[in-house]
């Protein structure tokens, strides 16, 4: 394979614009049609994407709104990419901050989560999500991104290694968000979004087993392959035990009836429903309660 992308395209590296590049690519493409010359096309396309990234990286940041979030991560310095994206989002935010409908709707959400008697009612959430202010695809896209970031921030994405699930982030609500925005099945189109989506998934025990949630950002070494191991052997013995199940059930009932919802302190002694994943100390159980989907209860370590 040829080493220099610009050479493959037959143009000079210096002073080339994205437009020159497109023209050169279009001309070469007519001689290297994908259906007739597969290998040739793959090489040409590769060169085109590399050269394009080179030109985009060379541009001063700020003009990059349409280009950086592309999916050509392979040959980009990751740090560059992140700083570019942050810059774009900052520019974008500062221009939109006073007028954007998405921000107005997010404000409504902030008000909603501050009142425990209001956030418990699902219809209030539906009302906010169906807000008539969010009419265009751009508003919806912006709101989607803002809401995801807000949820991640509220659950401590910056400070913590495991999410701290606020009481208002109910199982039901997480499911609702997923139905609306498809966050669980979305793998993200840039590094930051992917990280936020991973974090969001870890809020809901259904989408993430506890052990994995304990190391949310997979390390570079994590791409291991092996024949699937039997799943049951990984689980502590007490997970399947009916005795423990009933004990947990009783504790759950007591907590349900004796503690009013509170927004102020969740990291204290307990939380119900979809609590934060605890570190490796083993204080986390995932019993199946009758008539309910799998829920988690966090009990202080003895």
């Amino acid at each position: 394979m040829s080493t220099d992308a610009f050479e493959v395209l037959g143009i000079g590296r210096d002073g080339a614009t994205e437009n020159d590049l497109k023209k050169a690519y279009a001309a070469k493409l007519k001689q290297t049609r994908p259906a007739q010359d597969r290998e040739g096309f793959i090489e040409l396309r590769d060169a085109y994407e590399k050269a394009r990234q080179y030109i985009r990286n060379a541009k001063p940041p700020g003009n990059l709104v349409t280009s950086v979030k592309g999916s050509y991560k392979t040959d980009v310095d990751l740090e560059d990419e992140i700083s570019n994206i942050i810059e774009i989002e900052l520019n974008f935010l500062s221009s939109q901050i006073l007028t954007s409908p998405a921000i107005r709707v997010l404000k409504k959400i902030e008000i909603l989560v501050a009142d425990p008697w209001q956030w418990q009612r699902m219809e209030n959430w539906l009302q906010v999500l169906d807000d008539a202010d969010l009419r265009t695809i751009d508003d919806l896209q912006e709101f989607d991104a803002l809401l995801l970031s807000y949820i991640c921030q509220e659950s401590g994405v910056e400070e913590r290694s495991n999410p701290l699930v606020k009481p208002w982030m109910s199982h039901q609500l997480i499911e609702l968000f997923d139905r609306r925005f498809g966050w669980v099945r979305n793998s993200g189109s840039d590094f930051l979004q992917t990280r936020e989506l991973d974090w969001f998934r870890s809020l809901n025990p259904v989408h993430m087993p506890p052990a994995f949630a304990a190391s949310i950002v997979p390390s570079a070494q994590s791409n291991d392959v092996e024949p699937p191991a039997s799943k049951t052997s990984d689980r502590p013995w007490f997970l399947g035990s009916p005795v423990i199940l009933s004990v947990v059930f009783v504790v759950f009932k007591i907590l349900m009836y004796h503690t009013p919802p509170s927004t102020s302190d969740v990291s204290g002694t307990w939380s119900i429903g979809h609590s934060a994943v605890v570190d490796g100390q083993g204080c986390q159980w995932v019993p199946k309660l009758p008539g309910q989907e799998s829920r988690r209860i966090k009990i202080p370590c003895p």
């Binding site: 597969r38 793959i42 349409t66 999916s71 989607d144 392959v225």
Partner: protein
């Protein structure tokens, strides 16, 4: 002209049609009744003959037990449909439609046709694509290439604007599927930048909503309807849907016992009831915009494709979302077939197209099943999806990733290939598996490079290279669990050949008989008696086998039927 032209086929949920690339551009091929659209419906008549198209569609009302439609929704599954005593796989039913289109093309072009470009929803997965190729084989057609429906539409539009520099959005709501593609054009290159969709959202779902509304108006639960009642009410719902595309209110009549009942549906009520369906269009649109990294003002045009985009509710939803009026210069029912014909022209190196190149993307992520050590005590978690070719990668493409064995001393690595977007493999579509032996190494975890090569017709080649000894092992994913194997295809081909097909030149007469019969089902009193007379008269004329006479009588009776059908009730 090349010896045997390649035809373009739009194999739709509701209607199918064919086109070819003539000297002056793509051109539609009429069927035996002279229409371009052939309803994707199959029926078996009383003589055990197979009917395809309008005649079969009309029989859905009069003979629901021996007719079927909307089988595209079952492509890629094991779901079988029974027609009378026989059962058919969705591939076979689709093959009948393809065979009928092939015969129409041969009659129109006056030469044998053996190759086709067939369009599929962009969001069809690998199983559904393989099923489509199998259907073509059963119909005696070699698939030159499968083309994504919105991409085909982009080609048909792009042909008229060859030298434009623009980015446009194609919104394709067909009978059963919803597809979105963002296409960029520059210097004759038509490049798909992102595709997304929902394979279970289409015009038929809107008909189902109307069916529920109508059923509740006559005080019935849709589940409690008999098969015959259901077919009648559904045909009525379809009629109401078409009326609602042109006016604010639809009136339809239903026969209940010996009584005619007037049913009214207003556009407002229809829109309220379908709000949920319309809002399901949002997520794929948003995702495509996200993946292409665009804001709506960067789109120069929005193109609507698919018969269901005729509904005003769809148009206004798209207009509101993008603050821009969508275009529909080409007939939304024809544009995909025309685009498939353009691709057929490209495939046969037609000189009128030598300044155009189209590149498409893989709408899904392709990757493998991996395990991870996670948590402080290094527990092993299985079932994580590790992408190798990301969605919206321009194809053909070849990508490589390196993976490690889980343990030292491991003897083999099992590569399970999946397609989809979910982080856990069990939510994605399984495509195939490959075992790669690795040397036993007690000191370190062996490493393996896995290369995926994905080509334009959706073939995936997997190549594994063991780093330490350079050994390679590869396989091509062709068959899938649940798909037909080559032996099965040739065996079924023999079985299908035994089925008598209603002669093509008789299609118009069969359709006419079905039309009278459908009218009879829906009429009452004097009109019903008159239709019964017409039917016996027409059958008497048919028996004399004088073509000229048949055509004359058909013409005369047709005029009368037009009048009678104005009073059609269901």
């Amino acid at each position: 002209m090349p010896l045997s032209p390649i035809i373009g086929i739009d194999l739709g949920t509701t209607n199918s049609l064919a086109a070819w690339f003539a000297e002056d551009g793509p051109s539609l091929i009429p069927n035996a009744t002279g229409a371009f659209l052939t309803p994707s419906a199959i029926a078996i008549n009383d003589d055990k003959e197979l009917l395809v198209g309008q005649a079969a569609k009309d029989r859905l009302v009069s003979h629901p037990a021996t007719s079927t439609a909307r089988f595209k929704r079952y492509m890629g599954t094991e779901h079988v449909v029974s027609l009378g005593k026989k059962t058919f796989r969705p591939e076979e039913l689709s093959a009948f439609v393809l065979r009928s289109l092939k015969a129409d093309a041969e009659a129109h072009l006056k030469q044998p046709v053996s190759q086709a470009v067939i369009s599929v929803p962009a969001y069809f997965n690998d199983l559904q694509r393989k099923a489509t190729i199998a259907a073509a084989q059963l119909a005696g057609l070699k698939v030159e290439r499968l083309i994504n429906e919105p991409t085909a539409a982009a080609l048909a539009y792009g042909l008229h604007h060859r030298q434009d520099e623009s980015t446009f959005l194609v919104v394709d709501l067909g009978g059963g599927t919803f597809d979105v593609s963002i296409v960029e054009m520059f210097s004759g290159v038509i490049e798909v930048r992102a595709s997304s969709g929902d394979t279970f959202l289409g015009g038929e779902d809107f008909t189902d909503v109307l069916l529920t509304l109508l059923a509740s108006d006559i005080g019935r639960d849709p589940d409690s309807l008999t098969k015959a009642e259901f077919s009648r009410l559904r045909a009525l719902a379809d009629e109401a849907k078409h009326k609602l595309s042109a006016s604010n209110q639809a009136e339809v009549r239903y026969v209940l016992g010996e009584e005619e009942k007037q049913l009214r549906i207003s556009l407002t009520r229809f829109e309220e009831a379908t709000e949920n369906l319309v809002s399901r269009m949002r997520a794929p649109l948003q995702r495509a915009m996200n993946d292409a990294n665009l804001r709506s003002d960067q789109l120069s045009r929005i193109i609507l494709v698919g018969g269901a985009t005729r509904m005003p509710v769809i148009r206004s939803a798209v207009t509101k979302l993008f603050k821009k009026f969508p275009e529909h210069n080409l007939d939304p029912d024809h544009v995909v077939a025309l685009g498939a014909a353009v691709q057929a022209g490209l495939a046969s190196n037609h000189q009128a197209l030598d300044d155009i190149v189209m590149t498409d993307v893989s709408p899904f992520t392709l990757g493998i099943d991996t395990s991870r050590h996670a948590g402080p005590d290094g527990q092993t978690q299985t079932g994580y999806f590790s992408p190798i070719i990301e969605r919206n990668t321009v194809i053909p493409a070849s990508r490589v990733e390196r993976f490690h064995a889980m343990k030292s001393g491991q003897r083999q690595i099992e590569i399970k290939v999946f397609q989809g977007e979910a982080p856990r493999v069990h939510d994605n579509v399984f495509l195939g598996t490959l075992d790669v032996p690795i040397p036993v190494n007690m000191h370190a975890n062996e490493e393996v490079d896995i290369r995926f090569t994905y080509d334009t017709s959706g073939m995936l080649e997997v190549l594994a290279t063991v780093i330490s000894n350079g050994q390679q092992k590869s396989f091509v994913i062709e068959g899938n669990p649940g798909a037909l194997s080559q032996e099965e295809i040739s065996q079924r081909l023999k079985e299908l050949e035994r089925i008598k097909v209603h002669p093509r030149e008789e299609a118009e007469n069969a359709g006419f008989v079905a039309r009278i019969a459908r009218g009879y089902e829906n009429a009452l009193g004097a009109r019903r008696r008159r239709l019964s007379e017409l039917l016996s008269q027409f059958e008497a004329v048919l028996a004399r086998q004088n073509r000229k006479e048949i055509a004359n009588v058909r013409q005369l009776m047709g005029d009368e039927l037009d009048v009678l059908e104005k009073y059609d009730v269901y």
